[in-house]
């Protein structure tokens, strides 16, 4: 009897509470969308503005109309840029540097990560930590000593390293290898030991274990590392700014910033078109391989 009264006493409040929960959920959802739209506007505004300006003619930019809209879109900026030899050279330099860096980095880091994750040798644990620490040393600390080392190389061997785009292929791996090795160690460590033990029992060499078992199984990780590596080398700004100056040796980011901005005359339509084309390769990769991209991004810290 006492139970029944408690139940009836509690009963009226129950449906009301359920209602309020679902209602508050609905409101939470609405507010979430509202704020997401606001933040999306904030985050996408500069790229949008880039596109709008890139489609404007010089005259339309100079006539102060609504800067957020293009009234007579034209592709002239893009055409001018792509028929210009200079911009194509920047693009070629960037592409060559990035592709070479990706190949070099993946060769070094996949093999090293395999040895650090599975084979172990004296000091391998310390080395793994060291790799991670290297990742924390920023380029802004290294560019001055590296610059000095390059002049030293010229003085002793006569090989000129400064002002050549291919120097960047030697320098960029300092940025990419530590991180790629680090995330590959994480991926390789998550592969069950039984797999490589089985391969070894079947008489596979270490190299075969790596190429036949580890690389196929850890392929998502390798793709993530490759994407990371490409984006970093494509976007790197400080080293090429410090080490290259001639217009034939510049890579894209530096090329756009230093050559398209001439004194006080800013040809903004072309600058924006150039920046948009320069941002295109990472954006395209991102559009198609978003999940790998995000996996690589989160792997660094969550596995660390």
């Amino acid at each position: 009897m006492a139970n029944a009264t408690v139940a009836t006493a509690g009963a009226p409040t129950r449906p009301v509470r359920y209602g309020s929960i679902s209602q508050s959920r609905r409101w939470a959802l609405r507010w979430s969308y509202f704020f997401l739209v606001l933040f999306a506007i904030f985050f996408l505004m500069p790229p949008f503005y880039m596109l709008v300006t890139a489609l404007k003619s010089k005259e339309e930019i100079a006539a102060i109309t609504n800067p957020w809209w293009v009234y007579s879109p034209t592709l002239s900026n893009f055409i001018e840029l792509l028929t210009q030899n200079q911009y194509l050279i920047f693009f070629r330099n960037s592409a060559l540097v990035s592709i070479c860096v990706v190949v070099v980095t993946m060769l070094i880091s996949v093999i090293a990560a395999f040895s650090l994750a599975r084979m172990k040798f004296w000091g391998s644990a310390a080395l793994a930590t060291g790799v991670f620490l290297t990742y924390l040393i920023p380029d802004t600390l290294l560019f001055i000593p590296l610059f000095k080392m390059m002049t030293f190389v010229r003085e002793t061997t006569g090989i000129e390293l400064v002002n050549h785009w291919w120097t960047l292929i030697i320098i960029y791996p300092t940025l990419t290898v530590p991180f790629c090795t680090w995330i590959m160690i994480g991926y390789f460590a998550s592969i069950p030991k039984e797999l490589d033990e089985a391969a070894l029992i079947d008489g596979a060499t270490w190299m075969q274990t790596l190429t036949k078992i580890f690389i196929p199984v850890a392929l998502p990780g390798i793709i993530a590392a490759t994407i990371f590596c490409f984006t970093v080398s494509w976007a790197q700004f400080l080293y090429p700014l410090a080490f290259t100056t001639s217009t034939t040796e510049l890579v894209l980011p530096v090329g756009i910033v230093t050559t398209l901005i001439k004194g006080d005359v800013f040809n903004w339509g072309q600058i924006m078109a150039g920046a948009l084309l320069g941002a295109a390769p990472p954006l395209i990769i991102y559009a198609f391989l978003m999940d790998y991209y995000i996996a690589g991004l989160t792997a660094g810290a969550t596995k660390g």
Binding site: A28, W31, S32, Y33, L36, F42, F43, L44, M45, P46, P47, Y49, T53, I61, I64, P67, I108, I111, A112, M119, K120, F121, L127, V131, F132, L133, T134, L136, I137, P138, D139, T140, L141, L142, F143, I144, P145, K148, I170, P173, V177, P178, W234, F237, L238, P253, I256, V257, F266, W268, A275, L276, G278, A279, Y286, M290, L297, T298, T302, G304
Partner: protein, 309 residues
């Protein structure tokens, strides 16, 4: 006798070759050889230059005379240097704080909406992180243009005064921080979103059964569960933001005067543009203390996690 000696020596060489062969075949040797390119790269191109920077910082401008801490003394006496220390700290701390907060808030909004739509929103919100910083900063430079600023155009329409975004010290400082937050917040968003997904749903259910408000749920469930990832993301970001170069360089190049210079841009200006390599190295070395602090924290975290496993 000679025969025996000869056969002995062949035996010896065979044994030697065998042991060499065995050494090469040994697992640890193979492993070491496989890691050798990595070791060489790190020693020659990272560890050596890092140490070399310290040596460089103790030379005079023409790099022929050892001056000990002369460069440091010189810097400590200059007012510009202290301005740059203050600006670097202001820049990094404010930017990281706002990145972390925006990332946290937006991650919650994305997590709130139905799973189906999350991918799309996440994809859109990560775009600033994907565009190379030098390129996206160019579009900000154009947004902040003194005569054509698109923000000022909006301000003029709603009756607000024109702002000289990059011309005044205060606004220029605000602008570089704003661009940095814009470019870096998506990283926090992604990390926090991944962390939010890993918080077990039962904890929230238990909390709401206990009558927890949304604030209590965040404070007592979400934050403690995400503590590690928040700490590590903030440490990473602090390192990267302290060492930031691209955004400040493209947006203001340190100007007006030296108002927005941070360590990296000033080191570049002094070391490469003005040709005083030792002084530039000295300036860049001031990024080391913050690096060291962050590294110790991260290392402690790694070793802790290592012992858990």
């Amino acid at each position: 006798m000679a025969d025996i000696a000869a056969s002995n020596s062949t035996v010896a060489t065979r044994a030697g070759r065998n042991s060499l062969h065995k050494l090469v075949q040994r697992k640890s040797t193979v492993a070491f050889l496989m890691a050798l390119p990595l070791i060489l790269l790190i020693t020659i191109l990272v560890a050596y230059p890092a140490g070399y920077a310290v040596w460089l910082s103790m030379l005079n401008k023409s790099m022929v005379r050892f001056v000990g801490f002369g460069n440091f003394e010189f810097l400590f006496k200059r007012e510009t240097f202290w301005e740059i220390v203050a600006q670097s700290c202001l820049f990094a701390l404010t930017a990281v704080l706002f990145k972390a907060m925006i990332g946290f808030v937006v991650a919650h909004f994305v997590n709130n909406i139905p799973t189906k739509g999350q991918r799309k929103w996440r994809g859109m919100l990560l775009v600033p992180w994907v565009i190379p910083a030098a390129m996206s900063t160019l579009s900000w430079l154009w947004l902040f243009d003194p005569s054509y600023s698109a923000f000022n155009w909006i301000f003029a329409h709603i009756g607000l005064p024109k702002i000289s975004w990059l011309g005044e010290a205060g606004w220029a400082r605000f602008s570089v921080i704003l661009v940095n937050v814009w470019a870096g917040a998506p990283f926090f968003l992604i990390m926090y979103l991944a962390a939010l997904k890993s918080v077990p749903e039962q904890l929230y259910e238990a909390a709401s059964i206990d009558g927890a408000t949304w604030w209590q749920r965040i404070w007592y469930v979400t934050l403690p569960m995400m503590r590690n990832i928040i700490a590590i993301t903030i440490l990473f970001s602090t390192i990267v933001t302290f060492a930031n170069f691209d955004i400040v360089r493209v947006l203001t190049a340190g100007g007006p005067l030296t108002a927005t210079h941070v360590f990296a841009t000033w080191a570049f200006k002094v070391g490469i543009e003005s040709g005083d390599i030792p002084l530039g190295a000295t300036v860049s070395l001031f990024m080391v203390p913050i690096l060291a602090v962050a590294a110790t924290f991260i290392l402690r975290d790694i070793s802790k996690r290592g012992s858990e496993v």
